[in-house]
């Protein structure tokens, strides 16, 4: 009985804050709502007999990933989005309709697949961290090591991408974006500066 009450409370919390993630205009508020959603889902992990996942969710997801999001949002100082244009309204309607259809399909499939299944009571073995660890470092050892490699690659990639290019150094791969389409900054572009001088030097040579 208490379990049902806890489930309903935190499911409602997760749904409400998930809606806020999508609906709020300010990215900082969206990010903080996501923290609430993830914490509510962590509670549901505990109810499902996965305390390790709940701890990971709190430590890694809310503690590291979402804080990284928050950091970037504040670093870039992103303001509110501009008011949506009429094309945005069509897009919103289509996306909402598509989402409802997806919900119908996925929900029906999941519900029909599991409705009426009786859950066995939680066993000591299922909650045990030892059993989980034995599988992770036994059967899935290669995958575990590969995940470590993946994280290393991600760290290197993030460092290279976000590094500020020092002046005088040849442009990094990420800077080709700037070459293709110059940013609208104040001041004339180098090509525009070169234009007036080119005819004059040609004229001097003609003399």
């Amino acid at each position: 009985m208490i379990e049902v009450a806890v489930f309903l409370l935190f499911a409602a919390l997760a749904l409400g804050s998930a809606l806020m993630v999508v609906l709020l205009r300010n990215p900082v508020h969206s990010t903080l709502s996501l923290v609430l959603t993830l914490l509510a889902i962590a509670v549901l992990f505990v109810l499902l007999g996965a305390p390790f996942l709940a701890a990971l969710q709190v430590l890694v997801y809310t503690g590291a990933i979402v804080v990284l999001f928050l950091f970037v949002v504040m670093l870039l100082n992103i303001g509110r989005e501009e008011i949506a244009t009429d094309r945005g309204l069509v897009q919103k309607g289509a996306a909402g309709l598509g989402a409802l259809i997806l919900l119908g399909m996925v929900g029906a499939a999941l519900w029909q697949g599991t409705a009426g299944h009786e859950l066995a009571p939680l066993t000591e073995d299922f909650v045990s961290l030892e059993v989980l660890a034995t599988q992770l470092f036994g059967r899935y050892l290669v995958a575990f090591e590969l995940v470590g490699l993946l994280l290393l690659v991600a760290v290197i990639a993030a460092t290279v991408l976000a590094a500020r290019p020092t002046p005088g150094e040849p442009l990094a791969a990420g800077d080709r974006l700037a070459d293709a389409a110059p940013v609208e900054r104040g001041g004339p572009e180098p090509e525009e500066l070169a234009e007036p001088t080119a005819p004059s030097t040609a004229a001097e040579e003609a003399r």
């Binding site: 379990e3 049902v4 489930f7 499911a11 998930a18 993630v21 999508v22 990215p27 990010t31 996501l34 959603t37 993830l38 889902i41 992990f45 499902l48 996965a50 390790f52 996942l53 990971l56 969710q57 890694v60 590291a64 990284l68 999001f69 870039l76 992103i78 989005e81 949506a84 945005g88 289509a94 996306a95 598509g98 989402a99 997806l102 919900l103 996925v106 929900g107 999941l110 599991t114 299944h117 859950l119 009571p121 066993t123 299922f126 989980l132 599988q135 992770l136 899935y140 995940v147 993946l150 994280l151 991600a154 990639a157 993030a158 460092t159 991408l161 976000a162 990420g174 974006l177 389409a181």
Partner: protein, 100 residues
Amino acid sequence: MVPISWYLLLAALLFVIGAAGALTRRNGITIFLSVELMLNSVNLTLAAYSRLLDDHTGQLVVFFVLAVAAAEAAVGLALFIAIYRHRRTIDLNRINLMRW
């Protein structure tokens, strides 16, 4: 005992909310947040099935999804910083360099 279908229905709802957000929002960061929401709803599904089938594999897959999400967030946010540095915006409607 909460029926496992409730968890699955909740996960489906969360996934759909995330999908709708990813399709409608124009701010790159918010779209990213919606994708994280979708990833997490799938994690909930995996944990629920792990409980239903009394098998730890689902929980281990959640572990790997978590690690991949961390890598994805790091690289994605670095990309956003690089784009912002050049274009002064992360409004995806205005990052249309490759549109013909």
